[in-house]
C-alpha cells in the first residue's frame, strides 16, 4: 500500500526517526461538506515499531490524531544493518507495513 514513509537522521547521541503515514484518521463525527452525511470512522488503532524484529514501541490511538499522522522518535543506539519495521492496523482492519534499513554507521 505504501502508506508509510520513514526517514532518519543521525544526530549527536541518537538517531531521529520520522514517520509519516497516509491515512484519513476520521473519527466518525465529521460530516461530508456537500452531502452532509456522516463520514464513517476510519482511523489507525495500533502502530507498532520494531527494531530487528523486536517491538520497541506500541501506540494505541483514538480518532483524535490528525489526518496523515506524523511522528518523531529518537532511537538511542543503532548499528549499520539494523532494520526498523513499522506496522499499523486500523478500525476497518486494513493495515500496512514498511521496513527501513540503516545503511550507515551511527
Amino acid at each position: 500500500m505504501g502508506s508509510i514513509k520513514i526517514r532518519s537522521r543521525q544526530l549527536e547521541g541518537y538517531t531521529e526517526i520520522k514517520l509519516l503515514i497516509t491515512h484519513p484518521m476520521e473519527n466518525g463525527r465529521n460530516r461530508h461538506p456537500i452531502t452532509g452525511a456522516l463520514i464513517p470512522a476510519h482511523f489507525i488503532r495500533e502502530l507498532v515499531i520494531e527494531l530487528n524484529g523486536r517491538s520497541i514501541m506500541t501506540a494505541e490511538l483514538g480518532g483524535s490524531l490528525s489526518m496523515n499522522p506524523f511522528f518523531t522518535f529518537r532511537l538511542k543506539h543503532r548499528e549499520r544493518g539494523d532494520r526498523l519495521q513499522v506496522h499499523w492496523i486500523d478500525n476497518l482492519e486494513l493495515s500496512d507495513s514498511a521496513e527501513y534499513l540503516f545503511e550507515s554507521d551511527d
Binding site: 484518521m25 488503532r45 538511542k76 492496523i89
Partner: protein, 152 residues
C-alpha cells in the same frame, strides 16, 4: 458506484490477506476500546487511573502552541530526561473521545515524541507519564481558534 464498491471489496480482501501474513501476531483485540470510547474526560481519566496519586512534574516537558489556528492539526512535543518512563498518555480534555493516544515504549527509545493531534475546542492537553508505579503529569492550555468540523 458499483465499481467503487467492487474495488473497495477487492482492496480490503487483499489488505486482509496481507494483514494475516505480515501482521499475524498482532490483533485488534489488544486495542483497549474502553479507553478510547466517547465520554467526558473526568470519567475516563478516573476509569484508567482510579485513585492513584498523580504527581505534577515539569520534568515531563511539553511543547504545544499557546494558540492553535486550526484545531485539526495541533503539533505536540513530549520529552523528558527522566529514565524508566514506560508509557505516555495524551489526553485532550474537551474532545468527545478525550484519550488521543497511549504509547508504550522500551529503553531503546529516548523519551521524545512529536505528533499532531486534533482539538475540538480550547482546553487543556494533559500528558501522563508512567514511571514504574508512579504517574507524572504535565499539562498546557491551548486556545483553539478554529475547532468544530474536521477536528476533535
Amino acid at each position: 458506484m458499483r465499481r467503487r464498491g467492487f474495488l473497495q471489496f477487492i482492496f480490503r480482501a487483499a489488505a486482509g490477506a496481507l494483514t494475516s501474513v505480515l501482521f499475524a501476531e498482532k490483533s485488534l483485540a489488544d486495542w483497549p476500546e474502553e479507553h478510547f470510547s466517547k465520554g467526558d474526560f473526568t470519567t475516563h481519566f478516573q476509569q484508567l487511573f482510579g485513585t492513584r496519586t498523580i504527581i505534577d512534574s515539569e520534568a515531563i516537558q511539553l511543547m504545544l502552541p499557546e494558540i492553535a489556528e486550526n484545531g485539526a492539526v495541533v503539533p505536540i512535543t513530549i520529552s523528558s530526561d527522566l529514565a524508566d518512563i514506560q508509557r505516555l498518555y495524551i489526553w485532550v480534555e474537551k474532545n468527545p473521545t478525550p484519550l488521543a493516544a497511549e504509547i508504550a515504549f522500551d529503553a531503546s527509545l529516548a523519551v521524545y515524541l512529536t505528533a499532531r493531534i486534533k482539538m475540538a475546542e480550547s482546553c487543556h492537553v494533559i500528558v501522563i507519564a508512567q514511571q514504574g508505579e508512579r504517574l507524572l503529569r504535565n499539562q498546557r492550555w491551548v486556545k483553539v481558534m478554529q475547532g468544530g468540523c474536521g477536528t476533535g
